[in-house]
Symmetry: C2
Subunit: 191 residues, 2 copies
């Protein structure tokens, strides 16, 4: 998606450890017009798939997931939680995730009553790198018996294993920008 | 807002410790149509105030903040972060918050470059109870020199001190539903 790639070229900053900072428009300050363009693109990519629920992971996936839902008939969005909360009880689907950016391991949680075998689920997230968060969400969808339509990702680090791991499992992954490499402070996109 | 109060009456569940569970539409599964009605109501309440930025706190404020921004000319939304992340560096505004639902204390963080004296800020959050999260965000807006237009809250627990603490500071607080009390499993709203 050229609009997104141009924004990454203009505002993204490459930091040590293969970190790409896009906090000016994606995961701290959020550009709502850009989010709508991305949501529209996901709806084009997944048209006719009967998506009736969107699943994401707190926190930085939520904004895009909610905007994207507007392009799928205002379907409900569920955000998986990373920590136990008094706001969540009852039967839960659990999956273990290790975070690359935070360097810790935790269970992500979804209340069982919000996902079941009748659902057709689109997973939305901002980044795909090692794939840990996505694999956790894919696992939760499998536990629920719902049909996983696919994943909609903003930025995939194509030089890390997450995309391959998911696609080898037969999961459809649509990433709006795939990064082949960082060369110094330059972002090189895959064709 | 009657639409919201009816939804709380129908789906809200009162739990021990003055917890109101609204995870079917607000803070786990999210109802995007309802979010748009709430965003529209905030835009009516704060019409003419020149809001050019929305501030919220991860995670459960993000969805509503992003939808609400669409009713304020697609202004940028910033979500304050609760934990240190490799995605956040540089100069930060910090404020300390103690969470009622999680029972811990932490710093919330906003990168200085995204808020300054030229901004007119609306703070959006899902709940107002002790006011800790809101007071933290109000503090951050004050540090930045921006003008705080006010706060837009979904559910205020009117029997806790947060609303009074904020209003006594001269902060405008608009809550779409104010709860006077819980009586058994019933929610009693303020007039």
């Amino acid at each position: 998606m050229e609009l997104l790639k141009n924004r990454i070229r203009e505002e993204g900053r490459v930091k040590a450890g293969n970190i790409l900072k896009v906090d000016s428009f994606l995961n701290h300050q959020m550009d709502i017009s850009l989010f709508n363009e991305m949501g529209k693109e996901f709806s084009r990519l997944y048209a006719g798939e009967g998506v009736n629920k969107i699943l994401t992971l707190e926190a930085s996936g939520i904004g895009l997931a909610v905007i994207t839902a507007q392009h799928f008939g205002n379907c409900p969005v569920i955000f998986a939680k990373k920590t136990k909360s008094k706001n969540l009880d009852g039967d839960l689907y659990l999956a273990q995730v290790t975070s690359f950016t935070r360097g810790n391991t935790f269970d992500i949680q979804v209340a069982k009553k919000y996902l079941d075998a009748g659902d057709r689920v689109l997973i939305i997230d901002d980044f795909l790198a090692t794939g840990a968060a996505l694999l956790g969400m894919v696992d939760i969808v499998a536990q629920s018996g719902a049909h996983l339509v696919g994943c909609g990702i903003v930025i995939e680090k194509g030089f890390q294993e997450g995309g391959s791991l998911l696609r080898e499992q037969g999961v459809r992954v649509e990433s709006l920008a795939i990064i082949k490499a960082f060369e110094g402070d330059q972002v090189i996109f895959a064709e």
